[in-house]
Symmetry: C2
Subunit: 461 residues, 2 copies
Amino acid sequence: MIKPRTPPGVMELLPREQIAFQRMLDTIRRNYERFGFLPVETPVFELSEVLLTKSGGETERQVYFAQSTGALEKEGEGLPELALRFDLTVPLARYVAEHEHELAFPFRRYQIQRVYRGERAQRGRFREFYQCDIDVIGKDALSIRYDAEVLAVIHAVFSELGIGDFTVQLNNRKLMRGYFEGLGIADGEQQALVLREVDKLDKRGADYVRETLTGEGFGLSDEVVGKILDFVAVRSSGYEDALAKLDALGQGSDTLNQGITELREVLQLVHALGVPDSDWCLNFSIARGLDYYTGTVYETQLDGYPQIGSICSGGRYEDLASHYTKSKLPGVGISIGVTRLFWQLREAGLISGIEESSVQALVALMDESRMADSLDIARRLRAGGINTEVQMEPKKIGKQFQYASRAGIRFVVLCGDDEAARGVVAVKDLQREQQFEVRRDELASALKVELEQARALAGRR
Amino acid sequence: MIKPRTPPGVMELLPREQIAFQRMLDTIRRNYERFGFLPVETPVFELSEVLLTKSGGETERQVYFAQSTGALEKEGEGLPELALRFDLTVPLARYVAEHEHELAFPFRRYQIQRVYRGERAQRGRFREFYQCDIDVIGKDALSIRYDAEVLAVIHAVFSELGIGDFTVQLNNRKLMRGYFEGLGIADGEQQALVLREVDKLDKRGADYVRETLTGEGFGLSDEVVGKILDFVAVRSSGYEDALAKLDALGQGSDTLNQGITELREVLQLVHALGVPDSDWCLNFSIARGLDYYTGTVYETQLDGYPQIGSICSGGRYEDLASHYTKSKLPGVGISIGVTRLFWQLREAGLISGIEESSVQALVALMDESRMADSLDIARRLRAGGINTEVQMEPKKIGKQFQYASRAGIRFVVLCGDDEAARGVVAVKDLQREQQFEVRRDELASALKVELEQARALAGRR
């Protein structure tokens, strides 16, 4: 006998939780599709030499390799042939480069798949987790307008997920770079080092950061450091204020001016797209991956749970697939790490674990002789679009109700000899604690109406 | 520059095909849920010692192992720690045993995930492919009634997939075993050997099989071989005929009688579940995995494409998880290998590649000045449930129509200065080749009506 257990670092759910998780995935996908993004799936493994081009970083040390028994026996010089994807961006780059001549540009794809990283085993760290990505890829050029649309997608997703108030925070790497240049910090690497210190503001406080930046290593003047700290503290509040915050930066280097122009256009279109002012803001401290993003950058925070950190991030990049093709493929995209998000929401008590089941009705078995009739009722319910389970084995009726209640099944349908003779069924609505009778041929549509009412109510919350 | 390419043995699709594939997955899932099955997902890798308990078979030689860079460096005595799942049955066994005390039995789960096998590289053989499984697992016992329900699920799935007429073929291992015992072939292994020869009927013909079975190795009498060939040739046609075919077997050993009783009950309930007579039949030659299935067995054939083989198979087994728990867990289940099915349908020309896009409307850009207005129209469409793409960059209007047409987007929405002034938009329906005007605030509902009409028509086909 072998002890059944999962490897460390994976999130495996019981059915009730899996239903809640699946609803999150479905909501994300529905909104991605609503904005016209097309589905792509790539294989879980790529050829190692194709996947590991960027190489060298920490990511590569976390890569999983896959080998069949045959390959293991042969043993190897060098890396195994196959490696598991560690994100969805490198597979996207490979996909777009490989199918470049069969795709229409701008190419708008969504991809919802699991990725693999050999993280150190630790609570809340996953070796297997879902990423839900969208990207718009242009050929040679890509309009800044897509940067606004991507923000609208983030907004639509988190509005419908209904996990609380959130704020999409927006910045632009050119704006940031231009501002630093204006302060005499022109070197990209130097900027990165300064920003790393600035990132410690929350944890160490302003005094610590000021001391470090004016200290020996950096040697910046009090004035410059003051300006940096003022700059990264900027948050806008509403559309007009955001435009004013941009105006207040005045004129500067070409880079700064371009950043301001880009951000201003993005804000105007975000406005036109109907994203409410209260749900986004400028945040001049956001930098994201410094070696990758080149323009707009996004982070998203749950207002009530800032400690969770960004739940959806991304930005604009200059060239997606320079390792695979000579074509210039600029893009803008975001990623939702939904496994970690779900885990965090559960930890915060925001996933109740008493979600309504995906099963909507249980046809109870009153008596052995009524089995065939139960199946007929179930057939009608299913044909009418109601997810239905049938009690197949005799069991006390109280136990059947108990089961439905524990499982989160809303309706229990009863049909004894009396109901059958009258052509009706009795329905117990466990959610509203009501019982009613309905004609058998109207059962499915009656339940559908009830379910749609509940959905409409939930939507209004 | 590295040549972008996928490893051999995977199926990667272009967006148009991916949409068609995704629709198949969605249809399968919808029907699994309609019958009250609950979602389960398991990690792609399991601990090797947990996954490879049954060991020894060909499957194990095809297993992929996963190792992080760290593990590779340490090198190993013995097997790597992690192995990729090669089916969904072993992970289900591990899952049910691990969570036994948190699950309600009978436990009804569906699982739609990819599995991995180091197959020899060959056209139509995949190293990564989707399986779509349902299983009902009982504790200690499980009513035969579920065997009927599972057949109804198969029927519902393939009816809605709309890939042509199909027949679910049904048999029972006890019936088969009992019949063979009655002929003096009592040993299970001997039965398996005989069946393996019988399986060659299609390819080698009856004479060849008869010669082999009466020949030295088997030494069966002409009479016995005649009875075997008659038995495995039995196919029923309709409900009454199926019951008659069972009656014709008469009385025999307990095993035979039990098989007949089980099949008869399954047929009665299949009938009660409203599965049309024309869509299933008895086929006494079906055996499936001889060491695994113990009762009902299913195979499913596309009537017009028998050469594709079984597109959905499964059956009843005695004990799911004997390697992991002392509890007896009998079950019944089926699996659809949808990657291979999709590939075969495409090879047979049954997937046109001109599927309607998941994007339903394109808001055309008539003039730069109308950009913000386009976004407002798109916002209304999306809020009304229409998957909408916006033309973000200026382009000749003819090119915009060409793009929509090639992409399979049905509606192009146009709003010039004139339309804007009158509060209307023009809609071009590329499918019905019609153009109409509609008030802007009625646009989404108008398109929704059109799309639902099309869906209803498609359903009626």
